[in-house]
């Protein structure tokens, strides 16, 4: 029972973490409260559906299960392009105006949802899990489903890739410089506008991968991203904005607390308990788990 709850907690944690990773860098780096982040999950989920449709029409039957592998980079690219466009057309004009960007992205969220309803209809569509994700590993009387294990694996991969981009690549160095001091980053010859655009697009692309994963868990409709957006914001605020380690720990706290509370109470009470924990924590530590510390000037 405990092991099963732990596995479910890990599974929820990984989904929340995937949803919040992109938000962590866009919110952390650019201080943009992107209310349309959930819709990038939706774009990723619908992209997975479209790739599945394309495979079912064009690819021989024995290779059709591979649609899911193809849909991961496709979801990233489609969400990345949408993110880049959104940043260029709207967000870039609203830097430093948090309330305006919140309202604008909320409007964009509604437009994207309506666009999805117009294209795919109001009924949810189903993404069929590929053959290699059917079933699971059985240990004793416990079964660990392959698709949930696959989601956990995807999260680990995403974290490793993001860690590499942020801490080992040249672009990551530029990104962190802009995050820590925008003006000074420009004085080092960094085009901060380009970094902003690419960062927002990468954050959106990662949300697209998250969408690809959640499409395995249920039907995909225009509101699929909304279920995760509140959790994602809670993770980012709890972990400390712009901090990868903080996001991982924040997601663990929220994911495991949700599942354990749900196990002993009900889903509604579990949500209230998690929210209460977050509020209580932020009362004591409003800056989140991890903050940038610097030595005062001598």
């Amino acid at each position: 029972m405990f092991i099963n709850t732990l596995f479910n907690g890990m599974s929820l944690t990984s989904i929340i973490l995937l949803a919040s990773l992109g938000l962590s860098i866009t919110f952390g780096l650019m201080r943009v409260i992107n209310m349309a982040h959930g819709e990038f999950l939706m774009i990723g989920a619908y992209t997975t559906y479209v790739v599945q449709m394309v495979f079912s029409k064009l690819v021989p039957e024995q290779f059709q299960s591979w649609y899911y592998i193809a849909s991961i980079p496709t979801a990233f690219v489609v969400a990345f392009l949408f993110g880049s466009l959104l940043e260029k057309v709207v967000i870039s004009r609203l830097y430093g105006r948090e309330i305006d960007s919140l309202l604008a992205t909320f409007g964009i969220s509604l437009i994207l949802q309506q666009l999805a309803r117009s294209i795919f209809g109001t009924q949810g569509v189903n993404v069929k899990a590929p053959d290699f994700l059917f079933g699971g590993i059985t240990i004793g009387n416990l079964t660990f489903s392959y698709n949930r294990l696959f989601i956990i694996f995807s999260v680990v991969m995403c974290i490793v890739i993001m860690w590499y981009i942020m801490y080992r690549s040249g672009f990551g160095k530029q990104m962190r410089a802009v995050m820590q001091n925008r003006n000074m980053a420009q004085c080092m010859g960094i085009n901060s506008r380009r970094v902003d655009n690419l960062t927002f697009a990468i954050g959106s692309g990662i949300a697209g991968i998250a969408g690809c994963s959640i499409s395995l868990l249920g039907s995909v409709d225009s509101t699929v991203g909304q279920s995760y957006i509140v959790y994602a914001f809670m993770v980012v605020v709890l972990g400390g904005v712009g901090n990868l380690k903080g996001s991982v720990i924040g997601a663990c706290i929220i994911g495991f607390a949700s599942i354990f509370a749900e196990n002993y109470t009900s889903a509604t009470i579990a949500k209230a308990i998690v929210l209460f924990i977050v509020i209580l924590f932020l009362q004591k530590r409003p800056q989140g788990l991890f903050v940038v510390r610097t030595r005062e000037l001598d």
Binding site: G170, K173, C187, M188, G189, I190, T294, L297
Partner: protein, 230 residues
């Protein structure tokens, strides 16, 4: 090297710099001194493109740069050390220095002479910038601006809040960079002794205008002091 003509700079509605003219000849160590709030730092920010300059001209190497974005001004060969250093606190000393390679495409090696000028830097290479003392941060900030070997190095109050022995080291480093690499230096300071000791041309600023200009070796320190306290 840099010629500023008819420059006006505003912060919102307030005019900070009015009709400024300033000439920074190649190979010199030019200082800009004056009391607090006369527009010295704003002049440097105007050169860097960090504040709005709706009117005027800034010529760098015979090219107008008034509308050039900050990052491109840096790529053209202007290095900048702002007041308060602004090193990247969460990055290591090594990473801060590597960022200095950005103006030349992020590739290449950190010039060895910088470790000779500032021996503290290789010693603390893996330490986070934010964990260094003020003097060490200042040395890091200067070295970082020099990594890409700029044609001109702009320093905003490099002695502010720094202990005397390190001020001495910074003065020596500025002179050596000027001598070894031919780098032009533009220095904003309030510490008159430092300016008299280390610069070759002195400019006194008052309410957004240059009120005195002369070669340092020809000026009377007392006269400059009087102008600054006027």
């Amino acid at each position: 090297m840099i010629k500023i003509k008819d420059l006006f700079t505003y912060y919102g509605e307030s005019m900070i710099i009015e009709n400024l003219a300033l000439d920074i000849p190649k190979g010199e160590i030019v200082s800009l001194i004056g009391r607090n709030g006369v527009g010295k730092s704003t002049t440097l920010k105007s050169i860097m493109g960090l504040v709005k300059t709706p009117q005027g001209s800034i010529i760098f190497n015979n090219n107008e740069i008034i509308n050039t974005p900050t990052y491109n001004r840096v790529k053209k060969g202007i290095g900048y050390v702002p007041q308060g250093r602004d090193i990247f606190p969460q990055m290591t000393v090594e990473e801060n220095l590597e960022l200095g390679l950005q103006p030349i495409g992020g590739k290449g090696k950190i010039p060895e002479y910088l470790f000779e000028l500032f021996p503290i830097l290789p010693k603390f290479a893996k330490r986070k910038g934010g964990d260094l003392s003020g003097g060490q941060q200042q040395q890091l900030a200067i070295a970082r601006a020099l990594v890409a070997e700029p044609q001109i190095l702009i320093l905003d109050e490099p002695t502010e809040g720094i202990q005397p022995s390190i001020i001495e080291d910074i003065g020596v480093a500025i002179k050596k960079v000027n001598e070894w690499k031919g780098t032009t230096i533009l220095l904003v300071e309030q510490y008159l002794d430092f300016v008299l000791k280390n610069s070759t041309i002195i400019n006194v600023m008052e309410r957004g205008e240059i009120v005195f200009h002369g070669k340092t070796k020809e000026v009377d320190g007392k006269h400059i002091q009087k102008l600054m306290t006027h």
